[in-house]
Symmetry: C2
Subunit: 252 residues, 2 copies
């Protein structure tokens, strides 16, 4: 069930919907996931310096999926990697997030849920997001992603499905490859600023070469992402950061 | 400005949004347009017999476009071909529809407007639709349409742009080809039932052959659509319905 979803909108109810980001959520066969939400047109100085609405991810142990009926399911998340928590932003929802996903006849998935930015027993904020399934095998560039019917999105497939995890003294991070799309998050521990934040997003631009073209390479430690996934691992030096990434899933 | 848009949702405010159709709106270079809205999963007996939410179209003289600012414009329609009007459905909006289109940073276009189903000075119904631009050149099958950034959607292009119109004693209709996608509406005059309603939607499945694969071929007179657009017109017999279609735009 390699899956890639492009967000079509976010609505913080009762405000009208909008979409300022180019959000992709990628999920491996085994359910490791990353969602990166870069702003398409950062406007303020602050946005230009750090053009991200949000980013989060986790291993499959951090999400529980419960079937409701043939076209809806619950996903209950406790993100392992959460930008807002990392940056210690005030009034950030912390801990369990319950969401309900409903597949519309069109194939898009509507996600609804509630956040509790002021604490568990305080006022909640209801939200709606709409997700367009993307064909993870056919996408050869980010400007022309290929739509996929939602019914197929969770089919078993032969698409590339890889996840790497790191959690050492200095870093915590995750890299996920779903089909042709790679996303990664790497936080420097005990930093908790945008200086310690690293995001990466790549796409396999050529099927033959298995080389990624990167549309996001953000952060001082971006070179510590394991980017040579398709080359022999003998080349990784013992003792560097990259050698400490653990392959937690791979069908390569 | 050949453009193809896939609808992501419709919301009749204040109800929640949904999308039960696979709606494509296609627009030629010169602004002739058709929107077909087939239900993806018709449920009731009535829906199975006639699996369409709506269909409409018109020549460029039936729509006025007014720029508002760099990312929004008004479209004021008086549809020439309107399924609901044709079927004389009670409480159907008739005449001018004012809509506002806003391009979100993501590239999708939000359309908002009001309908007056009970007459001009009566209660109005506000709606919102969200449109995902589709690349009209890259789409080779309807299951895997290719997303396009909204900013490019109105670029001049070399995409196929064709419109044919018919208005004789028996029929009124329009066929529009925008890039690889063909859509058509044909109403039998003085019938005003679903028996007189014909819809067609095709896609060029092979670039070399210029042959259409049809996903919609609905109606008793569907063979009266001009489907041999890319073959020589000498083959059209004088006197039949097809010969009476007028080419009102073509860059073939």
């Amino acid at each position: 069930m390699v899956a890639v979803f492009k967000r079509e909108l976010i609505q913080v109810i009762p405000n009208p919907p909008n979409e300022r980001t180019f959000t992709l959520s990628t999920v491996t066969d085994k359910g490791h996931y990353i969602s990166l939400r870069p702003l398409v047109k950062p406007t303020t100085e602050e946005e230009k310096k750090f053009p991200f609405e949000w980013g989060f991810g986790g291993r499959n142990t951090s999400v529980e999926i419960i079937n409701v009926n043939s076209n809806s399911f619950k996903q209950n998340f406790v993100f392992e990697l959460d930008l807002n928590e990392y940056l210690q932003i005030p009034n950030t929802h912390s801990g369990l997030i319950n969401t309900l996903w409903t597949t519309w006849d069109s194939g898009c998935l509507e996600e609804t849920g509630e956040l509790f930015p002021f604490g568990k027993n305080k006022e909640s904020v209801a939200f709606r997001e709409l997700w367009q399934p993307i064909d993870p095998s056919k996408s050869v560039d980010f400007d022309h992603l290929t739509l996929k019917d939602g019914d197929d999105a969770h089919n078993g497939s032969k698409e590339t499905s890889v996840a790497l995890h790191i959690d050492n003294d200095t870093f915590v991070g995750l890299v996920v490859v779903a089909g042709n799309i790679l996303q990664g998050i790497l936080f420097k521990k005990n930093d908790n600023t945008i200086k310690g934040t690293n995001f990466i997003r790549g796409i396999i631009a050529s099927e033959e070469k298995k080389e990624f073209t990167y549309s996001i390479k953000y952060g001082e430690d971006v070179t510590s992402f394991p980017l040579d996934l398709f080359t022999k691992h003998d080349s990784i030096k013992v003792g560097d950061v990259i050698s400490q990434w653990k392959v937690i899933e791979s069908n390569l």
